[in-house]
């Protein structure tokens, strides 16, 4: 709070800083209606009883969470053991999303660096080119990727024609194919925040480091990466979070063994065969994981700034 402002009253400077209570009202209404309310509804649904043709019965129960974590046998009367199926799917999702994030970072950082170091005119052209694929529907792009990398697709045919390989790589329906799909889907979310950070980077810092006996790699490690870190973290979060809940890439590019949490949730709400409370419970668990990761990150940031 600004020094000198009387308690409970907003000073003029608060209003100009965007903190006036009435000015904030639309934001709070929007967040309440479209963010807090849906999440609360999902939380409530996760404790309800499923209705067989989809939908819920208003009977409060822990069945959905019980089903997620515990295995009570086919008829539900065996002694409870840990149910590994869904935990396994969660773990695989985290792994796949993590790999996709790493791939995005490895390609995205040099790309963002390249764009940010062009002159102002060419920069906007490169940025435009990066965003062009996003005018095409995600489903279409993912299907195209499937056609591109399948055994009889152009990639394998070209490699076999040129003699690099003798038989198809067998990329489709693998974990790698899913990672590739996620990577392709979310690459700009990595490039854009890193670009924004690099564009603000003061290159005289690199000169100062070189002047103080640092070689190129030391400059990258000790100066550039720490200074543009906020952009890198933002990019990683923007890629990791949607990758974790993605269902198009695993559905279209993966097989039965690459089933991810997004597909699991999707199935619970599709058609008449679903289980809304179970889907809601899985969503709540996913949300908790994501929130935990973000909180740990935020905590580590405030500690670092002290």
């Amino acid at each position: 709070m600004a020094a000198g402002a009387p308690d409970g009253a907003s000073s003029k400077s608060d209003i100009y800083a965007g903190n006036g209570p009435r000015l904030m009202l639309p934001v709070w209404v929007f967040i309440g209606l479209f963010l807090l309310l849906p999440v609360a509804l999902m939380g409530v649904y996760s404790f309800l009883t499923k209705e067989f043709r989809g939908g819920v019965i208003w009977d409060f129960t822990l069945t959905a969470y019980d089903q997620f974590f515990l295995d009570r046998g086919l008829f539900g009367d065996d002694p409870a053991k840990i149910e590994w199926t869904y935990i396994g799917i969660f773990w695989r999702s985290i792994w796949q999303a993590g790999m996709a994030t790493i791939m995005c970072l490895l390609i995205g950082f040099p790309t963002a660096w390249f764009i940010a170091t062009r002159d102002a005119k060419t920069r906007s052209i490169w940025l435009f080119l990066i965003t062009i694929p996003y005018w095409v529907n995600l489903l279409i792009r993912t299907v195209s990727m499937k056609f591109l990398i399948r055994d009889t697709g152009p990639l394998n045919e070209f490699l076999m024609w040129s003699g690099v390989i003798n038989e198809p790589l067998g990329l489709i329906n693998t974990n790698f194919a899913v990672q590739l799909g996620l990577f392709y889907s979310y690459l700009p979310f990595m490039v854009l925040p890193i670009y924004a950070a690099v564009e603000r980077y003061d290159f005289s810092l690199s000169e100062a480091a070189a002047d103080l006996y640092a070689n190129v790699w030391t400059i990258l490690r000790l100066v550039i990466l720490p200074v543009v870190k906020p952009g890198i973290i933002a990019g990683c979060i923007l890629v990791f979070v949607p990758s974790l809940g993605a269902f198009l890439a695993p559905d279209l590019l993966g097989g039965a063994k690459t089933f991810m949490i997004g597909s699991l949730i999707e199935e619970q709400f599709k058609g008449n065969a679903g289980n809304w409370p179970f889907g809601a419970a899985a969503s709540m668990i996913l949300l908790s994981i994501v929130m935990a990761v973000l909180l740990i990150y935020a905590r580590s940031q405030t500690k670092g700034d002290k």
Binding site: D202, S204, E207, A208, A210, D211, L212, Y213, A214, V227
Partner: protein
């Protein structure tokens, strides 16, 4: 003078950017233990020359020697030369101590030695109490001193300073000038200081190189540069001067006989003369005395007075339309002429110089 007394030897250095030539065969020698200033207007090549010494620019021709060794092929991180950058370029994610230790750790100092050295250098610039702060938590003057400490810590053979005072306000700038000069004397290494501020250059430097459009115009002590400028550019750029167009009658043994715009003959030291027999008579405003009309070297009409505190400036005009500025001390005894009156001006003997373009 032996080669061990020359810290930096700049030998006929040429730097081109495409069709534009930033340095036209620049040569100068900077002595060990010297406060040397590169002075000139923006675009004169002084920063390019400094960046060439640091290694950020490759020169097209010529050599740059550090105590006799050609350093032109070395990248910046292999030159034992450090720089204080214009906007300081402090690492924002590191504390003051970490900033100062950066160069030490990269050049092979152990953590303990580096920490001790950082303490010492921070003491030198009086920042010991701020060792654990981040640069953003410091004032401009404190940041400037961190930049100085960081560059001094690895004991460079030469320290380069790229207009380090330009971001400070006037009072602070004047205080830092004195400090900087003192630190240079204490550390005993050559400082090469770039500035466009002639007052800064005059007050701090042992020697000054005045540059314009990629050429060195004159190298000398502040007194030499101010009192015996070699051409019109130097006279005009350093301090304030009156430049009168005169006709040269004869030059012998460094003394010229010229005709003033008033028609009076006048003799003065001649530095340089144009080939067509014309020249500029440079007269510093403080080297002129007032006298009754007709009693001096030339008569002028007073147009306006400017009050400067310690001095009062008279803007006057010679009969042929040229302007003359006269500076009078703001003392009780000074009698100011009325505006629009005609007064005589007496130029102090030996204070005027004949200069070519």
């Amino acid at each position: 003078m032996t080669s061990s007394d020359i810290a930096i030897d700049i030998d006929n250095v040429v730097k081109r950017y495409g069709a534009f030539t930033a340095l036209h065969g620049v040569s100068m020698q900077i002595h060990a233990n010297e406060f040397f200033t590169l002075l000139g207007p923006s675009g004169c090549g002084k920063t390019t020359l400094l960046r060439s010494i640091a290694g950020f620019e490759d020169v097209n021709e010529g050599a740059i020697r550090l105590y006799g060794n050609d350093i032109a092929p070395l990248p910046p991180h292999k030159r034992p030369i450090n720089t204080v950058f214009q906007q300081y370029a402090l690492f924002p994610h590191m504390t003051v101590t970490e900033n100062v230790m950066f160069g030490l750790r990269r050049s092979g100092w152990s953590r303990i030695e580096a920490a001790t050295r950082a303490d010492d250098v921070l003491k030198l610039v009086q920042l010991s109490n701020f060792a654990d702060r981040k640069p953003a938590q410091l004032s401009g003057g404190q940041q400037q001193r961190v930049a100085l400490a960081r560059a001094l810590a690895p004991r460079p053979k030469v320290l380069l300073l790229d207009e380090p005072l330009s971001a400070l306000d006037l009072k602070l700038r004047q205080a830092v000038r004195v400090e900087l000069k003192q630190i240079q004397r204490e550390t005993g290494i050559a400082f090469i200081f770039v500035t466009h501020d002639q007052e800064e250059a005059l007050t701090m430097s042992d020697r000054i190189a005045v540059m314009s459009s990629g050429h060195v115009q004159q190298i000398g002590t502040p007194r030499e540069i101010y009192e015996t400028p070699i051409n019109r550019f130097v006279a005009d750029f350093i301090g304030e001067t009156n430049l009168l167009n005169v006709t040269v009658q004869s030059v012998s043994e460094g003394t010229a006989q010229v005709i003033l715009p008033s028609g009076h003959p006048f003799s003065c030291p001649a530095a340089t003369v144009n080939s067509d027999g014309t020249g500029h008579l440079s007269v510093r405003p403080e080297r002129i005395e007032l006298c009754p009309a007709g009693g001096g070297d030339l008569d002028v009409k007073v147009e306006s007075q400017v009050y400067l505190g310690t001095d009062i400036q008279l803007h006057t005009r010679v009969a042929d339309g040229e302007k003359m500025i006269v500076r009078l001390q703001n003392a009780q005894s000074t009698i100011l002429p009325e505006i629009d009156t005609v007064v005589g001006l007496k130029i102090e003997a030996g204070a005027a110089r004949l200069l070519a373009d």
